[in-house]
Amino acid sequence: MYFSQAISTRRLVLDGATGTELIKRGFFDRPELLNVLSPEILTEVHRAYVEAGSDVVCANTFGCNRLKADLRTYTLEDLVRGAIDAAKKSGAEYVLYDCGPLGELLYPNGRRTFEEAYELFAEQALLAEKYGCDGVLIETMGDLKELRCALLAFRENTSLPVLCSMSFEESGRTYLGTDAACFALTAQALGAAAVGVNCGLGPDKLEKVVDRILSVAKVPVLVKPNAGLPEYRDGSTVYSMQKEDFSKSVLSLAKRGATLVGGCCGTTPDFIKEFSSDVKSLPFRIPNGDFDGICSYAKAVPFSGKTKAIGERVNPTNRPLLKQAFLDSDFDYILGLCLEQKEEGAEILDINCGMAGVDEKRLLSGTVTETEGVVALPLCLDTGKAPALEAALRVYDGVALINSVNGEERSLSSVLPLAKRYGAYLIGLCLDERGIPQDVQTRVEIAEKIATRAKEYGIDKKRLLIDPLTMAVSVDHNNGKILLDTIEELKKRDFKTVLGLSNISYGLPARHILNGALYRLIKDRGVTAAIVNPTLKENDDEVSRTLLLGGDERCEGYIRAYSGVPAEEERRVDLSLRECVCKGRTAEGMAKLKIDLTDKNAEKIIEHDVIGGLDDLGEKYERGEVFLPALIAGSETAKAMLDYIKKNCFSEGKASRATVVIATVKGDVHDIGKNIVKTVAGNYGYRMIDLGRDVPTERVLAAIEEYRPQAVALSALMTTTLDNMTETVKAVKRAYPSIEVLVGGAVVSADYAESVGARYSKDAREACLVLNGLFG
C-alpha cells in the first residue's frame, strides 16, 4: 500500500527520537556524517524502533541542508543517500525524508529570501524522491513562512506525500506567533498530506494545541511530542517524563483524533513500545474540521455569521500619499494605513498596488511580506495581473482571498489555476466580455458560470465569494434594487457574497448616509463580506432606503433631503497652528488646520507654522527644555499637517526639498537614532528613503541608482560597526562624488566624519540644520 493510502485508511505509529539514541551511543556532533561513516548505527536505531512497533521511521536527514550540514568531505547527495539506505535496511514499512528548519530566519525577520530558501529545500526534495523515500516529514518548524516554503518546494519538485509539523508552546502558538489552527489551514490548503505538532512540549501539555488543529483539519493529524521539558543536569540535557506517563498522554491525544503518533526529543524505543499496540487498536477516522474561511499566520476569519468588513484603504486610486509611499517603498506609511483600519474594526485587509509606472509584481508581494507579520489580519490580494497575484500568493503566510476573477475567459483561465494551486478563496465578479449586465438574471448566470469553471479546476463553490457589483444610483435609480435582488437570488443558490459599498453613492451628497443605509440592508441580507471604510456607520435612514429599493426616481427625494448637509462641526482651538506643532498636539492642530487652510495660504502655513513650529521646538530641545519624545511628537503633528496640505492643496508630485537615502550601517541594528532623523527630517519636507538597519554597502549603492538622492545619511551605534560605516561612506563618495554624506550615531564624532569626508550631526535636530544648510 502506498504511504498516502496508508495514512488515510489506518493508524500508524511513527518513530521516536533519533538524536537522543545517537547521543546515548556517544555521537554528539554533526550527526548527518554518520549517514556515510557509520550507517549501520543508524540502521540499528531505526530497527529498534521498528521492533518496538513503529510502522514509519524518519531517515537521519533533519540537518541535511546546505546551511547546516558539514559538506567539507561528502556531498549532500552522499549524506541523503546514506541516510535513506540506512533507514530502509531497518525493515520499516515506510521511510520518510526528515526535513528540519534551515536554522535561519526568512525575510523580513532575517536576510534569507524566500527564493533562496526554496532552492535549499528543492535540492533536498529531488534527493528524497531519487533515493526512494515513501514520503516527507517537514518538522520542528517555528515560522509558517519557512514551513510553506519547504512544503511548496517538496510539492512542486516531487510527487511524495508531505506531512507538516510545527513546534508549539502551550499557548497554541509557535515562538514566532504562528497559530496552530492557522498553520493547519494553510498547510492543508497547499496540499499537505497530514498536519500536526512535534517537539517543544510533552504530550501532557499538547491537548489544547491538538484540539485546535483537529477543529480545522481535513487531513490526518500527527503528534510527536518530547518526553517532557528538557533540563540541563551536569552538563547534559535530560527529559524528565517516564514512558508510562508519556504513553498515557499520547494515547489520550490519539483518542482525540491524532492518527499518526510517535515521539521526539528524549523518547526511546521503550516509549514507542509502551503505546504502539494500544494506539493501533483504536478506531480510525480522518478529521473533518468544519472551518470555512481564510487566515493569516495568526488569525483565522470564518465566512459565517455576521458580515465581515474588508478594509479598502490600501488602494492608490485617488490617494496621492499612498502612491508616493508605494514609489518610495515607505512601508511604515502603508503599515500605518493597515493598522489604522484594524483598530477601526476591519477583519480582512484589501491590498491593491495597481498604478502606472510600478513593478506591481514586486510591489504587491513586497507589501504583503512587509505588512502581514505585523498586522496579523488575513489579506485580500487585489490585482488583475496574474504574475503579480502569483508572486503575492507564493509569499503570503496563510490562506488568502483573491480579488478577483470574472466571467471573462481570459480571467478564468489565468486566475483559477492560481486559486487552486495556492488553496485560496476567491472573489468572482458578475461581469464578462459583454461588460456588466443590467439585469439580475444575467449576473446570476455569470456567477454560475464562474462556479462551474472553478469546479473544473477542483475549486469548491465554498471557496467562491460572488460580487454582484455595486453601480451608482445616480446613474440609474434602479441600481440599488438590482443589487439587492441579485444578492437575494445568489443567496438562494447558496453562493457566498461580497461587495464594495461606496460606489452606490457616487455623484450624490452626504454619501456616508446612503452608504450606511446600504450597509444595514446588505447585512440584513446576510452578505458574507463587504469592502468598506471600517468606520462607516450603518443606519436605517428612510430616504436612503426608498432610493435603494428603487422608489426614488432620479434620486430627487434624496437630493432634496441632503443637498447642503452641514460639513463637519467646527472645533474651537485656542492654540495657534505654530503652537500646536511645537507642543505636538496633532488632533487640535488638524482641526484648526482644516478651518484655516486655503489654496492661497498653504505655502505660508508650511513655512511659518509647520516649519516654524518645528524650529521653535528644535530650539527648546537644544536648550534642554524638552527631550526626544517631545521633539518627535511635534514632528508627527507637523507630518499630519503636511500630509493634509499636500493632499488638498497641491497636485501630485509636489517637489520635496531634497531626497535623502537613510540607513543604519551593516552590522548595526540600533535604529532609534536613524528613525528619529528620518521622522524629523521627513517632516521638514525632505523625501526620506529608509533602507532600515543592518544595511550593506551594496544596498545603499543600489538605492542611490534607484532614487537618485542628493544626500545619504548613515548611522552607527557600535564601535564594531564603524569600519562598515567607513566602507559605505567611501564607496558612496567614490561612485557618486557629488552626493553629500551625513553621518551620526553614538560612536561617530566630528573628527571621524571629517576624516572620511562626510558631514557630522550629533542628533536629529542638527541633521536637519545640516540638510537645511545644504538644500534649504
Partner: protein
Amino acid sequence: MNIKEIGAYLRVRGEMDEETERLIRTVYPIAEGTLHRISDRRFGLVRTKEGLRLSGTDVTLRGELAARHFVECDEVYVVLLTMGMESERNIKSTYALSPTKGLVLDACYSEAIERRLDAYEEEKRKDGDRLTSRISCGYGDLPLETQGPLLRLLSPEKIGVYQNESFMLVPNKSVVAIVGIKR
C-alpha cells in the same frame, strides 16, 4: 519599571519632562505584557592561558574583564533572554502608527529585558547562589565574536532566537548574559 533607565535610553538628560513620562507610562504596559523566554545553562570555568574556558565546550571567555569579573567564581550561568518576535512586531506596529510611541516602546523593551534578567538572578539567589553582576559580549575587552559560540550552547532556535550574518540577534530585543557564581 525603572523610569530613569528608560529615560536614559531615550537620551533624557536631567529632569524628565512631563510629556516624556506620560508617553512612557502609556506604552510601558505593552512591554510589560510581553512574555519573555529564557534558555540558560550552568558551566564550570577552566582557567587556561587564553582565558576562562567553559568546561565541556571549546568556548573561552577572553580578556581582562572576564578574568577580573569572575575571579571569585568556578562556575557561571550563561543565559539567553528574549522578548520574542512579539516585541519586534509591537515596536514596528506602534512605530507605524506613532513614531514617538514606537521609539519610547523600543526603550521600554530594553529596560524590560534588564528587569526580567534581574528577576532571573533573584530566582537563582533564592536557590542559594551568590552571584556577580552580569556582563555581556562587547563589554570592555570581552569580544563580541564570542556571542555566537555562547549562543550555540543554548539551543537558541528552540526559543526563537537567531543570529544573522552580522552577528546580531533576531529578535533584536534579546540578550546573552554571563553571571558568575561565587565560591
